[in-house]
Symmetry: D2
Subunit: 159 residues, 4 copies
């Protein structure tokens, strides 16, 4: 099974956040992660673009029933048809969640991911207790790498 | 059709918040609102109890498939079976949402309700842009009454 | 907690099926059951009408986010916003499911209810292994009463 | 975007149906389709195995929140956490649905796919009006190819 990380964020993001989202997608692809997201525009599109340009796989978990709503960098589109309830599916999809910018939809995904007990890293997004802040994509990827090695250690110690 | 308001909040709340939740349930029932909630314990249970004791109707939108998980003051239990995705259904159920206390699950419902464009009133809960703060249940009910008369005015002017 | 039965069926039903749906709603209300359904027209509307005219409570579990889509006999409207996935919620809502007529949507609800292990009674609907056929509403209600007394016996013997 | 087909079917299937499911997965992969399924055992596992052995991509849309429930041939696991409501997501995922064997869960997915207006091909499964029957995987793939060329013709004629 391929490892997956969810990227969430605003569908109306400024140029700087889009740049970070793209760098994030690229970094995830280089690490071999599948990128899951909500499949629409803004941060989701920029992250997918970064991932695809680095040869990665992207999954778009769409709110509607029309796969055609996916941004052009989504490789595997899932038109769930469950509306905003799909935010819970996006939040649960990856082994970690990285948020960039974002409005109330993103906030709901952050909260759902924390509720699921997943690590959430945030770049320029809602400052919620439990979110690990990162200055930019490079730092978020370092934190992700750290989570990973910590988990490996726990496994080698714990059993 | 009966009018409905969603009450959301922590399933581990302190005595003061439980008292406010109960007063809230009572006030909603007295105004003729059906009370929708997530159907479990803590704030949800206290609000249901207040509503039922004042002769109101309570709906519990449960995450699991077992109606027996509902608190004892839920009159109509809906065992949705959709897990945390049911937070989106709770958030959308009422014409307004009132939050009391609460952790990440409550935060996700606040964010989803704001995303749906619904008014959200908060008592001792997450301070999120868009949430109308209220000191206690009495004040929250006043704000709710105000929303309502404002809507009536808009209707009599606009249409 | 009030006991609930789900009524499912076609939103384009002929006059005979609508008459049976209405009789069914009436009979459920007389027995004290809350009637849950998909909230739209046809069989759902006729059953709600029968229930309401007999003083019963009706719950409409809608696919969209607009409570205004509910038929006029729905007392408690739940605009789930989860599209056809709401069929699983309708199928799970009651302690039994009664189907009248219906097309593929109804078939999906029958199949989901059987998958949940619930008793399904069918009036002029899909002949699926596991569905208990009934000639009309009166017979369906008799079967429902029988399920109930059987369950009571099991309880008095078993527990 | 990659094209996708959903394969549905029993998690307790006999050896012949498992053989057909595996051949089906292989054939879909050879045609470049991503295979979407419910991610569990039986037909789902056999189809995933066939697809992966032919170099294809497999997506498992799981009912629970634990990616570890996926069969070992699932490459991209989506732990939706929405229970049986995920059947609606499986049914909608592909541009066509192929059913092999199966019980009530499969029947619900067939019905939901027909409700979404998608072509459904059936191998040794429920005989429901609207399902295109196929004797085996080879025939199902021929029918799928035919749907495809028909769609191309419609496009070249219609606009």
């Amino acid at each position: 099974m391929k490892r997956m990380v969810s990227v969430i964020g605003g569908h109306r993001a400024g140029p700087e956040n889009l740049r970070e989202a793209e760098a994030l997608g690229r970094g995830l692809a280089e690490r071999g992660f599948v990128l899951a997201c909500g499949g629409l525009g803004g941060v989701m599109e920029a992250a997918c673009r970064g991932a695809r340009e680095a040869g990665g796989t992207t999954v778009g978990i769409l709110p509607g029933t029309d796969a055609g709503e996916a941004n052009r960098w989504v490789e595997i589109a899932l038109p769930t048809g469950i509306g905003l309830a799909r935010n819970a599916v996006v939040a649960r999809a990856g082994e970690a969640v990285i948020a960039v910018d974002g409005s109330h939809g993103t906030l709901s995904e952050i909260a759902l991911a924390l509720n699921f007990g997943l690590p959430v890293i945030g770049i320029g997004t809602w400052e919620i207790e439990g979110v690990i802040p990162a200055a930019d994509a490079a730092r978020a990827l370092e934190i992700l790498d750290g989570l990973d090695s910590r988990r490996r250690e726990e496994r080698s110690v714990g059993g």
